[in-house]
């Protein structure tokens, strides 16, 4: 439980760093680290299959996409970068204060977390749940993936010139 608490605190701090850091590449790396920490939390909570998906897809594939996007854009001139940085600091300075205030409020009012939970699931195997019970979801996922591929083909296709 101690390890889980440390991981949860780290998750908040690293995601805060990812959101606040001025460089986009660092933000992408921070997001990958957030995903890795979320993976550890999932594993601690007994969800290894979802953890593997989170690590391979979110910390791997999505980070590659983010780094590719950053590499395909160019840097701002130093003067403009510093100017925008000052503006960003002014806008984002309230976020840590907001988080501390929200934490203080939640600790003060002590939300009722002792819910009347339903009975535990009879199906404990995630493979049975995914392939037998939620088969329709899989079709939905396949359709979403195909729609995504089609969208990417449309978006990444080169512009036609007069010679084409």
């Amino acid at each position: 439980m101690m390890l889980l608490s440390v991981l949860l605190i780290l998750l908040v701090l690293i995601s805060l760093w990812a959101v606040m850091t001025p460089l986009l590449l660092r933000a992408a790396i921070g997001l990958a680290a957030t995903s890795a920490l979320l993976t550890m939390i999932m594993y601690q909570l007994g969800a290894p299959l979802a953890a593997v998906f989170e690590l391979s897809v979110c910390a791997g594939l999505i980070s590659v996409v983010f780094v590719s996007v950053v590499s395909l854009t160019h840097r701002l001139p130093l003067k403009e970068f510093m100017k925008r940085r000052q503006s960003r600091i002014k806008r984002f300075v309230f976020l840590p204060l907001l988080l501390v205030a929200a934490l203080a409020i939640m600790l003060t009012i002590k939300l009722p977390f002792s819910l009347n939970l339903p009975a535990a699931d009879k199906i404990s195997d995630v493979r049975v749940m995914l392939w037998n019970i939620r088969r329709i979801d899989l079709f939905g996922q396949i359709m979403a993936l195909l729609a995504g591929v089609y969208g990417v083909l449309i978006l990444f296709q080169g512009r036609k010139t007069d010679g084409d």
């Binding site: 949860l8 998750l11 908040v12 995601s15 990812a18 959101v19 986009l24 933000a27 992408a28 997001l31 979320l38 939390i41 999932m42 909570l45 007994g46 969800a47 299959l49 979802a50 998906f53 989170e54 897809v57 979110c58 999505i62 996409v65 983010f66 996007v69 854009t73 960003r88 806008r91 984002f92 309230f94 976020l95 907001l98 988080l99 929200a102 934490l103 939640m106 819910l115 939970l117 339903p118 535990a120 699931d121 199906i123 195997d125 995630v126 749940m129 995914l130 019970i133 939620r134 979801d137 996922q141 979403a144 993936l145 729609a147 995504g148 969208g151 990417v152 449309i154 978006l155 990444f156």
Partner: protein
């Protein structure tokens, strides 16, 4: 509580920034918050298998959203040579 803090971070980032890429980062943080919430709910209620299958669905949809959004961001950058969302006002329509 952690999930509430992540939600605040994500909403704040999406609301305050003008950079399209950073909006996508904020959206990702929001999705992480929801993922954490679903897994924690499954753990507490004993429906961990259901929670894992839902998280896998979330991750698949997340990838599609991120890749398409990345394409939109690159198209925006090629058009305006900037990621500032204020430039969207100059678009037709």
């Amino acid at each position: 509580m952690t999930f509430v803090l992540l939600l605040i971070e994500g909403f704040y980032c999406v609301t305050v920034t003008y950079n399209l890429f950073r909006i996508l980062i904020g959206l990702e943080v929001l999705i992480k918050a929801v993922t954490l919430f679903v897994i924690a709910a499954g753990y507490l209620s004993g429906h961990l298998a259901l929670a894992q299958s839902i998280v896998i669905t979330i991750i698949v949809i997340e990838v599609v959203v991120v890749v398409v959004a990345a394409g939109i961001i690159l198209g925006f950058f090629r058009e305006f040579d900037s990621l500032n969302v204020k430039n969207a006002r100059r678009m037709k329509g």
